[in-house]
């Protein structure tokens, strides 16, 4: 076919070069790209080779946590006085590179600590709280968790039942939390509790509870479809007494404090979804070029080639939307709509990409010994965690005056 030959000629011509991911954005500076190289090398050499083992054991070793702290990989967004780098874009690079370790569970373990739990302390903590939790947290010597979701309250944060009442200067906490990432092994958890049970949003506060506090128990380590190398727990609090200065930020302002970091949490989920989808698409592309059927590589069949083209297009659309939201976030514009759109689109997109990739891998895609099966299981959390796809749409709807 003449037309096909000329397409081949375009592909092989010297002018046909595709841009590298990092050249597609003016967000990142050369220092971030240098950091990306270091991180990528570390992840590929020190994490990826162990991913299977950690998934099997359903655990990410604490030594690795410490190692990454010592290398300065956990404190990028935090102030220098606590051992950080004061550069949130460097943390964005971290979340983009982590999917290369081959286990979303590992990425989630670290992401929940540096991008979800510690930001609350950094934004709302007193100097004493920051010294107590951020310094060892950045070194990888203590692990944090954020406890919001309850068995009967997920998206509806105002409906949480766990409460704290004053006893002298202390707080006494009762209730339970579930789906808490790092819940089993965390050294501290930032807990959302009702401090005024008469009120909804306006009655929520955040309280930091240390591991080992009497009355604070891990009731269950949860078995999951994906994210297996991360620990996810159900936590219980029975007459758990903590001192008054364990309150984080302002009394009854907890809901707004939680909301304030949701933008970052959703951005890092979008960054991870795009980067993960890219890896999966490249794997499917490589496989489609190698795998022969009916006398030719399956990539030569238009149905496969077009599927791959759609995957690449959707990934690029997701990346640009995410980078746009990240840029607005960096400019301090509180881009709730764009962040929600990026999170909604990329997490759903990653599911479609992984589903199509699995189809390209055929029976092998269904086998646990091929990484695509794990990616398929891991990706499914995207449209649920950090705000469901339905909540993202609700937020977008509200910005439309409906």
């Amino acid at each position: 076919m003449e037309g096909w030959t000329s397409l081949e000629a375009i592909r092989n011509s010297a002018e046909f070069t595709s841009l590298k991911e990092e050249e597609m954005s003016d967000l990142f500076q050369p220092v971030h790209e240098d950091f990306r190289k270091t991180l990528r090398e570390y992840i590929e050499k020190e994490l990826a080779p162990h991913a299977d083992e950690w998934e099997e054991a359903e655990e990410f070793p604490l030594e690795k946590f410490r190692e990454m702290g010592q290398l300065g990989f956990l404190g990028m967004q935090y102030p220098e006085e606590y051992g950080g780098d004061n550069d949130i874009l460097a943390e964005a690079v971290f979340h983009e590179e982590m999917p290369r370790c081959g286990s979303a569970g590992v990425a989630a373990t670290l992401g929940a600590h540096i991008g979800i739990a510690m930001p609350q302390i950094n934004k709302y903590g007193t100097k004493e709280q920051k010294e107590k939790y951020l310094i060892p947290g950045i070194k990888g010597e203590s692990i944090g968790a954020l406890g919001i979701t309850e068995p009967e309250a997920g998206s509806d944060v105002a409906g949480i039942k766990t409460y704290a009442i004053k006893d002298g200067s202390d707080w006494i906490i009762n209730g339970s939390k579930t789906f808490i990432t790092n819940g089993v092994r965390c050294d501290w958890v930032v807990l959302a509790v009702k401090t005024d049970r008469e009120k909804g949003y306006g009655g929520i506060s955040q309280i930091i509870v240390d591991k080992g506090t009497p009355g604070f128990e891990v009731s269950k380590k949860l078995k999951k479809l994906g994210w297996r190398a991360s620990d996810t727990a159900e936590l219980s609090f029975i007459d758990c007494r903590v001192p008054g200065d364990a309150l984080l930020g302002e009394l009854n302002k907890g809901f707004y404090q939680i909301m304030a970091n949701f933008a970052w949490e959703r951005l890092i989920m979008a960054l991870g979804a795009v980067a993960g989808a890219q890896i999966v698409m490249e794997a499917a592309l490589g496989y489609a070029k190698e795998r022969h059927a009916f006398g030719q590589p399956i990539a030569k069949f238009q149905v496969i080639a077009h599927t791959l083209a759609d995957m690449a297009t959707e990934i690029e659309a997701g990346r640009q939307l995410t980078y746009y939201a990240l840029k607005l976030y960096m400019e301090g514009k509180n881009p709730i709509k764009e962040v929600s759109m990026a999170k909604l689109y990329t997490c759903d997109m990653a599911c479609r990409v992984v589903d199509n990739a699995l189809q390209i891998f055929g029976g092998y895609g269904f086998m646990e010994e091929y990484p695509i099966a794990r990616a398929f299981r891991d990706t499914r959390l995207g449209p649920i965690g950090g705000g469901t796809r339905e909540i993202m749409r609700e937020i977008i709807v509200r910005t439309m005056g409906i």
Partner: protein, 264 residues
Amino acid sequence: MNMVVCVKRVPDTAESEVHIDASGKDIDKSKLSFGINEADNYAVEEAIQIKERLGGTVNVISVGGKDSDEQIRMALAKGGDEAIRIEDPAMAGSDGFAIAKALAAAIKGMEFDIVFTGALADDDGSAVVGVALAELLGVNHAAYVKKVEILEDGKKIKVGRELEGGLMEFLEMELPAVLTIQTGINEPRYASFKGIKQAAKKEIAIKSLSDLGLDASEVGEAGSWAVLEKFTPPVVGEMAEILTGEPEETAAKLAAILKEKGLV
């Protein structure tokens, strides 16, 4: 201890297809990724570890275009102090000897105790630059070094050289010296973001041949002892014996051959 480390940017060909380009004198590098030469990475680490133990400075040098700044910056991020990049169009076509002349011209004016290079470059595999450099500088050298011990007065060192079959040869020599470092001598570190930010603030001094007092005829093809004629893909050897048959059969044949040749 004042140290100089020479680093080279090389294409990563380990997991890529390599094609000879139109000139026949090079490979097509347009689709390859680049990194620091592996042995040089160990050389950088060795210098930085010595600096951390005993103090001193680490000066990083590379010959190459602007792209090589990436490898230089990474060495600075890990603890290097200053950097020089030698860039001149006349360097094209230089062999290891001509490269060593340019490096020697840059290093001569410095006060140095040890110059480190990698033992071997991943791309050309010549293993020439380090030893030629020592000769041109008129100092001692040891190649394929896998252990370095600074003796108490700081004027002598004890080095272990890796020989065939894992044997180590130990030598004592006076400083200054050039050491070509073998991979595996240490565990190269990962640069931290803090180090990367500090490195970004440092200036890399760019030197042309005239800055170094060299004439164009001393480098490039004119100044080289070896000139690359052309690359050819390896010819399919006639010595190869292709085993055919079912996997059980071919495995049995292979095992018989290995046994017969006394290889297992």
